[in-house]
């Protein structure tokens, strides 16, 4: 079946003082309808840029993004505007993603007004009110301004705004990171309920690994602009292959006491994304680094659906992932 969204060789470079910043470098992803993709990584890995490329808020330097089979990177302005009805985005910061001068009603109405969806005011108002009901915002807040509401309610406004046009695909860029733990859970439940109700598909971008497993069936791990591992989230969490993924999973502090204190902690810091050297970008911090790692590596399927870009698995055939990953095997 045709994937809902597919990226092929997607690249986004920025010119900065000092060279070229490789924000997203040669990313190949595919998202099927109904199967959420979680994109994880730490700061600077390019996940936010990837999200914006996926909905054409940014133009790619190279590569294609296929939405329902059509390459959206080639669309001209008018078609991009039409695209907004099908692809939307929920932003991270509920404090800065809402215009402080607009009331809740006006904020949610914007996509409807700009796309001339409803011929009469009344129909539009009905739609807005029902959206508010759907996201759990009491109707009495329709005249309120963002600064009068708390983070959780503001994020609900963001959700309502994104879903007003009934899109098929929504990129959620760290939608709960700025919220308190108990509010995070409320919003996550909301997103999952809405997915079921409206038949949505999410690309869920986050740095919080516990959240991503909860909400996505597929997961892609990003490091310095490259996708270094990809696969069903259950599989990747149970059997992480790439040394970075392993360390990332190990680094998350679990709210339990029965953890062994010994952890593999990565040393060093993320290297500079400006003018990166060829080869694996994680190499400087990797315990399994060898000379082979200085050559560019592609994602290779190691288990059904589980891909990894690491020299440790280059010579492997699918199904033999279990025995790789120790120093001795090199």
């Amino acid at each position: 079946m045709e994937p809902l969204l597919k990226t092929v060789g997607l690249k986004k470079y920025f010119r900065v003082a000092g060279g070229v910043l490789h924000a997203v470098d040669n990313v190949n992803l595919s998202i099927s309808k109904g199967r959420n993709l979680g994109v994880v990584g730490e700061s600077g890995c390019g996940k936010s840029t990837l999200g914006r490329l996926a909905v054409r808020l940014l133009d790619a330097t190279e590569g294609q993004v296929f939405f329902e089979g059509r390459n959206i990177m080639e669309f001209e302005k008018k078609k991009v505007q039409m695209l907004r009805r099908e692809m939307q985005m929920i932003f991270q910061d509920p404090y800065s993603s809402l215009n402080p001068r607009m009331s809740v009603f006006e904020l949610i109405s914007e996509p409807l007004v700009m796309n001339k969806v409803y011929p009469t005011y009344r129909e539009m108002a009905d739609r807005i009110l029902s959206m508010m009901d759907m996201v759990g915002l009491a109707r009495r807040f329709a005249n309120s301004f963002p600064h009068e509401l708390d983070g959780g309610r503001r994020q609900r406004i963001g959700v309502a705004r994104a879903l007003a046009l009934n899109p098929k695909f929504v990129v959620c860029d760290e939608p709960v990171s700025a919220l308190d733990v108990s509010i995070q859970a409320q919003i996550l439940n909301l997103l999952m309920d809405l997915q079921d109700e409206l038949g949505l598909t999410y690309m869920f971008i986050t740095h919080d690994l516990s959240v991503v497993k909860h909400i996505s069936r597929e997961i892609a791990v990003m490091y310095l602009g490259q996708c270094i591992e990809r696969g069903p989230s259950r599989e990747v969490f149970k059997n992480p292959l790439h040394p970075y993924t392993k360390a990332l999973l190990a680094a998350v502090p679990r709210p339990r006491l029965d953890e062994s204190l010994k952890k593999e902690i990565i040393r060093g810091e993320v290297s500079d994304p400006v003018n990166p050297k060829p080869g694996c970008r994680f190499a400087p911090r990797c315990d399994f680094f060898t000379g082979v790692c200085t050559k560019d590596i592609e994602l290779k399927e190691v288990n059904s659906g589980h891909f990894v870009a690491c020299t440790l698995f280059q010579g492997q055939s699918p199904g033999s992932a279990a025995c790789a990953g120790s120093k001795a095997s090199l």
Binding site: Q184, L209, P255
Partner: protein, 326 residues
């Protein structure tokens, strides 16, 4: 039983802004022993940072005020001390690590000079410059920064390294107690792991006591000996880390917190978040402050503030506990 290093008794702090009174901390009781790490867990607005600032008397002078209670440090009440006396304590005996390393460092001074500043203030002119510089190098190595980088400015450091520098400044004069306010919240998870490991190592090496303020129960499990859970300016549950993670009894808020966190290793269909929001500190509910959000709220919860019930080291302030007679 030895005396606690720091004992906070019935502390009350308010903020007065144009007309309204924000009751930030409403009578809390905490104790930190020598060499121990106490974790204070709570969400935004619970009063954790206010407590930390109150200990060091760093509340914003225009609006914040301690209106009750005692903060006993080694037998003396810090709230009765003058500003001059407090200055001798800050940095030297009790120091603080702030949340955002980006703003905690002075952007126009080198890292080395910032560490030096702390040393100079508390060691006066007694020690020579060279000895102080050696100490700066020592500290930088202790936190994992190459000493040659002491001539760099904060903007040349990454987030993780900035936080290490902040920790170096906090430890410069060998304090007995370090208060860390969400020290790793602004950092990436792998860098967080590095910094937490370093903090644990340092604690063991130097025997420093610590108050660690966080909202992350995972960090608490990993680094703390004792835990206090704060809600709306009160401590609703307190105990050793075993009590909090292994005991079958919990305050409903604590249960809610655990239910809100998606666990990486266990699959759960739907999370069980706590309904509603933390109360407006200007308009706190009567009785138990959690009752509007509590699944088990009873009539008594609406009018009477629950007293803490003790089971050994574990204390919970909830009428439910009383009722069941457990």
């Amino acid at each position: 039983m030895t005396n606690p290093l720091l004992a906070i008794n019935d502390l009350k702090v308010v903020y007065t802004t144009a007309g309204s009174v924000v009751r930030a901390v409403n009578g809390i009781r905490l104790e930190v022993m020598q060499g121990e790490t106490l974790g204070i867990v709570g969400e935004t607005g619970a009063g954790k940072t206010t407590t930390a600032l109150a200990v060091l008397q760093l509340l914003p002078s225009r609006t914040g005020k301690v209106v009750g209670g005692h903060i006993i440090y080694k037998g003396e009440d810090l709230l009765k001390k003058s500003e001059q006396e407090m200055r001798r304590i800050r940095g030297a005996k009790i120091s603080m690590i702030f949340q955002d390393p980006m703003t905690a460092l002075n952007p126009v001074t080198t890292i080395g000079d910032q560490i030096l500043e702390s040393l100079r203030i508390h060691n006066g002119g007694k020690q020579q410059e060279r000895r102080l510089q050696e100490r700066v190098d020592e500290l930088l190595q202790l936190v994992g920064i190459v000493p040659s980088r002491k001539r760099d400015y904060p903007h040349q450091f990454s987030g993780g390294m900035k936080q290490r520098a902040v920790i170096a400044i906090a430890l410069a004069c060998d304090p007995e107690l370090v208060i860390a306010d969400e020290p790793t919240t602004a950092l990436d998870v792998t860098i967080q792991a590095q910094v937490l490991a370093m903090i644990s190592e340092l604690k063991e090496k130097l025997g420093t006591s610590m108050i660690l303020i966080t909202h992350d129960l995972g960090i608490v499990a990993q680094t703390c000996d004792k835990v206090a859970i704060m809600y709306a300016g009160e401590i609703v549950e307190q105990g050793t880390v075993r009590d909090i993670f292994l005991s079958p009894r919990h305050h409903p808020y604590t249960e809610g917190l655990f239910g809100s966190i998606p666990d990486m290793d266990v699959e759960v269909g739907r999370l069980t978040p706590i309904e509603g929001l933390m109360p407006d500190p200007v308009n706190l509910p009567r009785g138990c402050k959690f009752h509007p959000r509590c699944r088990h709220a009873m009539d008594i919860c609406r009018t009477v503030i629950p007293e803490a019930r003790q089971w050994g080291t574990h204390s919970i302030a909830c009428h439910l506990m009383r009722e069941e007679g457990v």
